[in-house]
Symmetry: D3
Subunit: 125 residues, 6 copies
């Protein structure tokens, strides 16, 4: 199986069947090649590596994204973290490490994004 | 037990009895109040929270610090991650999330710091 | 007086009696523990330290937050700077140091946030 | 010709006669001195330097701004890049270097801003 | 030809036959998998894309890396930029955009790294 | 008086007669034009503005530079802050705002740089 297919399966598993088409569409919307690379590289080559479980990988990703303030990917990774088995409480704890090591304001901005994601999850149900 | 004592015990557990005095000395060297705050807040109020295990907390911290390029704390957190039960391979996986989400150069700079830590650990033994 | 109480009083002084409940509510909204820590640590342990006056502390904070693009805390710190006695002109001067040292775009993004705050202050009156 | 006049002419060339007044107004809106400095320094002293063509200078600027997540200046620089002769495809390629070196999420956030600019350009026509 | 081979050829072209083995060794030194990914993704999937010439791609990369202060990759990219046909003067111009958009200190730190690279190039000759 | 002359006088006042030539030399060493711009813009157009005193301007600058980890400019600004009348204790307080708002590791890295500066000042005397 090539990188792209592996990445697509990986993202499907992490965002759910009902959301994968929308996600792919968003990646494609401006630049189709970007979708090809992000699915192949981030999904197919990195997220599939193993060695740490997906929940830990999600918490690590959230920490990177909150530290750098990358909003689009942060929201997506909150959604994927919940699907990868992280509880909201575990996400909070990851964000406390962000508070200590990247400053409280980075954690605050991230919590606001998390709130948006939790509201959307609730509406979905 | 107050924040400072709790933080000191927490750092002692994570850096080892033989390294705690040196660490405290480094925190104090320019600004004694900084030592008091970093031990009380980062050690006593954050690292002691529970909810995720110390190994996961270490991997999260490494991701924040590698993303932001904070060198002193990154080296310390590599050392603490090993003491908190993370294998070198697990640290690698955390850094692959850094590569995907903060760029390969952030992971490269962090790997160079990790190499310094691993060399020092080896000399210690 | 413990850290939390000291922090709450400090924030009350800096945001005003009429805004403190709203602020506490915003800190609490997703993660109650975050409110506890941000009030205790940022308010109670840091802002209360003395050694420089609150206006200078505000200008310093604005510079950190504008450099890193932390939006929620930046807006709050513009409000607190005005209450701590900084004039709009003094805030401008702090942002010129941001322009020189973090680039003009960081100052521009911050000025847009400052404009939002000044508009809200005007509406309040 | 002084820095300010040179800068104003430079920005006029890069944003177009129909947009220059709006841009100047936005720079001035909160802090008139900021407009004076950004036009004189960024426009008059930097963009006019020569040595590389304006299209290359635009792609370089986009890379800095996407890496740092500076939203207001990023949008403006997408507009100026198109006027400086960059194709959308060339902007994509610059953003692939952002993806490799600052992480895919920085490129994603930038692509969303680029989409907004392309939509506005289309409406203009 | 697979991503890795394509990436290896790309890096060989950009660093020169006499430096490629040393570079691969540095990528491998701590984490062999990192070498595999950086060569395949950054070299094989990104640098080979076309659409803009290699010199422009180098200047874009330098801008990202100087803005974020990524030292190891910045030095490598100065070397590759020279091999990709950029003159020192063109690199200076890219760094003036860094000065305007990420602040003068980011350009200053980068110039110090560039000086190290130019000294090494001179010694080589 | 033009921007360059004004900037040179401003830097001379802030680094001292005995250090100004060395500083100018360092700015010039790789790229002479960089010296011209940094002296004219940062020194001549920004530091000379007035509206806040030089000590406050120094503390603001330190906060920006510590948040972003710009090492060369950070060291220079610690030296200038002392000459502008800031005490070491006042610099500490600025760095506590960095700790709260950019994370403790940013303040730690800055304190290590400050220690280098204080050691050099002592040797000078």
């Amino acid at each position: 199986m090539d990188d792209y297919k592996r990445g697509l399966e990986q993202f499907r598993q992490m965002v759910g069947d009902e959301h994968i088409d929308g996600l792919i569409e968003r990646f494609k919307s401006v630049c189709p090649d970007f979708e090809k690379e992000v699915v192949s590289v981030v999904g197919g080559r990195i997220w599939t590596r193993g060695g740490i479980d997906l929940k830990t990988r999600s918490l690590c990703s959230i920490c990177v994204l909150a530290a750098l303030g990358r909003n689009s990917a942060l929201k997506l990774n909150f959604q994927m973290a919940l699907n990868n088995g992280a509880t909201v409480e575990e996400i909070f704890e990851a964000l406390f490490q962000v508070a200590a090591y990247a400053g409280f304001p980075a954690a605050w901005d991230a919590l606001i994004k998390l709130e948006e994601v939790l509201d959307e999850v609730e509406e979905d149900e």
